[in-house]
């Protein structure tokens, strides 16, 4: 019955997610439609002639009614066909694939580093509540959490790449066909920036939730049962504290997907950030649409995972589903 509950829940959530994505797709399409300027002209640029414009419009189905265009687009999406980039006639998928890999790796690396780090900091701060570590860490996280990531990025470049010392590359170069992990040195600063952007917030939430749990009767009880302190913390406190944090983690990972935009700009990192800015300015609708849908999907999936994870660590919810 429990598992059934879980599956039912997952199903419901997935459907809801799909619903959200459907609405998102409509919005995305509407928004991109609203972009001023004629994509056809944007492509042809200097060499535009009336004939070539007309021809291109037809080629891009820009002459069809909007609903028709939306339908084409959505059905395309479902078949994994993202259309062709208006800027350079190649398929959006081939154009974005390497960029997505790059950004994906960047985000993933940042996530893998920051999340456990944040949890560790949060837990330890809660355990050493009001001790030096707690006060120190909470202050530092507080300050860092407040800083916009482009500020962090610029400062890091100044410190480690140009002015103060020149240990690290100031810009990340991923040669086409190359993979970001070929040049890990170049990843350090962007990753560091994102880590600094994400860790503090998660750490603070983790601390709060951990403190809440540590104050709970059952943790006090666990101590009164004479359990060893680390058993108390790892077995009794941590699992209960993690639950509420998952949502936050998910949201922050999703946030990373947005954070990369600025960070990639600072480090000239070849990723979806640049592609988005470029796509937006070049009126490259298919690219913008694809990226928007991609990011939205990431968000939805992450939240779904977070929900499930929360359920898994909170037995009570399984039954009250």
């Amino acid at each position: 019955m429990h598992s059934g509950g879980i599956w039912g829940f997952i199903l419901r959530r997935t459907l809801l997610g799909l619903l959200v994505l459907a609405v998102v797709s409509v919005l995305v399409f509407a928004a991109t439609q609203a972009l001023p300027g004629d994509p056809a002209r944007a492509i042809l640029g200097r060499s535009a002639t009336p004939e070539s414009l007309a021809a291109l419009r037809a080629k891009l189905h820009l002459d069809q009614p909007v609903l028709q265009q939306y339908w084409n687009w959505v059905t395309g999406l479902l078949h994994g066909d993202l259309g062709n980039s208006l800027a350079n006639q190649e398929p959006v998928s081939t154009y974005l694939k390497p960029l997505i890999i790059n950004s994906g790796f960047l985000v993933l690396l940042s996530g893998i580093i920051s999340i456990p780090l944040a949890i560790a900091i949060g837990v330890w701060a809660a355990v050493r509540r009001d001790k030096a570590f707690d006060v120190g860490s909470s202050l530092i996280t507080l300050l860092l959490a407040a800083l916009p990531e482009f500020v962090v990025g610029v400062v890091l470049v100044v410190l480690f790449a140009t002015v103060v010392v020149q240990w690290l590359p100031a810009v990340t170069q991923v040669p086409p066909g190359g993979k970001p992990w070929d040049d890990l040195k170049g990843m350090i600063l962007p990753v560091a920036t994102l880590v600094i952007a994400v860790t503090p917030y998660v750490a603070r939430i983790m601390r709060a939730s951990m403190i809440e749990v540590l104050e709970s009767d059952y943790v006090e009880m666990a101590r009164l049962k004479g359990l060893r302190e680390n058993t108390v913390i790892l077995r009794h406190a941590l699992p209960n504290a993690l639950g509420p944090t998952f949502q936050v983690i998910a949201i922050n990972l999703a946030y990373l997907a947005g954070g990369v935009i600025v960070v990639e700009y600072v480090f000239n990192f070849p990723g979806i950030g640049g592609a988005l800015v470029g796509g937006v300015t070049n009126r490259d609708l298919p690219v913008v649409q694809a990226l928007a849908m991609l990011v939205a999907t990431v968000y939805v999936v992450l939240n779904l995972i977070a929900d499930i994870a929360t359920i898994l660590v909170t037995p009570r919810m399984r039954t009250t589903l």
């Binding site: 300027g37 004629d38 002209r41 944007a42 492509i43 640029g45 200097r46 060499s47 002639t49 980039s85 800027a87 350079n88 154009y95 390497p98 470049v157 790449a161 140009t162 020149q166 690290l168 590359p169 100031a170 810009v171 170069q173 040669p175 086409p176 066909g177 700009y265 600072v266 480090f267 000239n268 070849p270 640049g274 470029g278 300015t281 070049n282 009126r283 490259d284």
Partner: protein
């Protein structure tokens, strides 16, 4: 006359050239619209790319004097006839020898209006039928009317010689140049490997050339400083002190005829009234422009281009700022206290800055200028704007007119000349000038044309900007040039530079 095949010497200090290495060039201004075409460019990285593989019959040397290159000699035997004689034993990178067929094909391709190539307008006097192959190394051009400008056209970097049957990327790119395209991702990077059977012995020196697009100058400079790039184009003037102070980095300052005009479309309000155009020309404080925009790296201009042209009209009085006159002119035109949008983009160093500085200067005359920095400038808005900023490289007067100041010119931002009134005879004068073979007779005509543009034209040309590039001191062979392209025409196709 004939000249040495090497268009640029090598600085003594640099010592003897060495082989090897991967030359990494950092360029801004590129984007997803990057192309590779032996006879056309859209963005600056395209220029850098074109130079890797394609060469022209003639080239401008560092003093902006034409020298033979692929051609042994190019001569105008009659007002309406030119003859091109090719050097022997030149091969394309795919091993095919360069013959007149290739020259014929190249010229015909340039003339093809459908391709919307750069060079087309410059050859207005040449019809495809006029291109005659005399033998395997000689081609004769029979013009539909006399044209003295053909030689200069053949020296424009974008009129490269391509093999017969050539097509732009993604088709294979084989030129007579020093490098072969290995891979190319628009908006990001292109890699070029050494052409083993390049016709100039010993050259080129690099094993590989890598051209990388950069989003902004800042990242570019960072890359150079962090040793991730060996050279960069268009070092922001403000950065010159930084780089100069930086051990291991050098600055290459070339006094060129390059210019960043403020373009007023003479047929669009409010610039249909020449009093307004005049007023705007008088609002500019040119020395201040040079100071603020170029940090002094430039020379004050007089609303005229092609300073190196023997026919440049030095007699016209230097325009200076005159706010009072400007005000009264605007009052007469009923435009006092007007507001105008000025469109610009990060196309070339200084474009945004000069717009902003002009906006500030205009305040004095009670004119409000709203500066729009539109990244999509060249996509949507270009040539349709009333008031905009653009950039041009060194070029002599007639070829430049062909490019920007006559109907049908590809980049006529000012929509010059007017249909009626003063200046409406500009086109006739242009044709007279072209047909006039005698230099001495041609100059007065050109002076008249320049006077018209000076008084009624749509260009505000505050200065000629120096080209300022930066490169790692590991690279030798660069030297200042008056030419159009950065980094001494990208190390003349990356054949005259090497790693020490």
């Amino acid at each position: 006359g004939s000249g040495s095949s090497s268009s640029s010497g090598t600085t003594a200090a640099a010592g003897t050239p060495k082989r090897g290495g991967n030359f990494r060039l950092a360029v801004t201004g590129g984007g997803a619209k990057d192309i590779m075409d032996g006879q056309s460019i859209i963005t600056k990285p395209d220029q850098a790319r074109l130079m890797t593989a394609f060469e022209t019959l003639l080239v401008y040397d560092t003093n902006y004097i034409l020298q033979p290159h692929l051609a042994e000699e190019v001569t105008q035997n009659k007002p309406d006839q030119w003859t091109i004689k090719l050097k022997k034993g030149i091969e394309f990178s795919n091993g095919k020898t360069l013959t007149s067929d290739d020259v014929v094909y190249s010229l015909q391709r340039i003339l093809n209006p459908k391709l919307g190539l750069f060079g087309t307008s410059g050859f207005a006097s040449l019809k495809p039928s006029g291109i005659k192959k005399l033998n395997s190394t000689t081609v004769q051009l029979n013009l539909s009317y006399a044209d003295a400008g053909i030689g200069e056209q053949l020296g424009q970097y974008y009129n490269g010689i391509v093999p017969e049957g050539y097509a732009a990327f993604p088709a294979p790119q084989h030129g007579t140049g020093g490098y072969i395209l290995k891979n190319f991702t628009p908006g990001q990077q292109s890699v070029h490997t050494r052409n083993p059977n390049y016709w100039q012995s010993g050259k080129p020196y690099f094993d590989q050339v890598t051209i990388t697009d950069f989003a902004d100058p800042d990242a570019q400079v960072n890359a150079l400083q962090a040793g991730q790039a060996d050279a960069m184009t268009d070092l922001p003037f403000s950065n010159v002190p930084v780089i100069k102070g930086h051990a291991g980095l050098s600055v290459l300052v070339s006094k060129t005829g390059g210019w960043l005009p403020l373009c007023m479309a003479i047929d669009l309000t409010p610039f249909t009234d020449n009093r307004v155009r005049e007023a705007f020309r008088l609002m500019v404080d040119r020395p201040q422009m040079v100071q603020q925009v170029l940090s002094g790296y430039g020379t004050v201009a007089n609303d005229l281009y092609s300073p190196f042209d023997p026919a440049y009209n030095h007699s016209l009085p230097q325009r200076v700022q005159d706010i009072e006159k400007a005000k009264s002119l605007l009052k007469q035109a009923g435009q006092d206290g007007m507001t105008v949008d000025l469109h610009t983009t990060n196309g070339a160093a200084g474009m945004v800055e000069s717009a902003n500085v002009f906006a500030t200067q205009a305040q004095a005359a009670g004119v409000t200028i709203n500066v729009h920095n539109d990244p999509n400038y060249y996509g949507d808005l270009y040539l349709k704007l009333a008031f905009s900023v653009d950039f041009w490289g060194t070029r002599n007067y007639l070829p430049q007119v062909a490019n920007g100041s006559i109907p049908g010119a590809p980049y006529n931002e000012t929509h010059w000349p007017p249909k009626s009134g003063p200046g409406s005879n500009f086109l006739d004068l242009y044709h007279q000038a072209l047909t006039q073979v005698d230099e001495q007779k041609r100059i007065p005509i050109i002076h008249e044309m320049q006077a018209l543009e000076y008084n009624y034209g749509g260009y505000i040309i505050p200065f000629f900007n120096d080209l300022v590039d930066a490169y790692s001191s590991k690279v030798a062979g660069f030297e200042p040039s008056k030419g159009t392209l950065n980094l001494t025409s990208f190390g003349n196709g990356y054949t005259t530079i090497w790693f020490t």
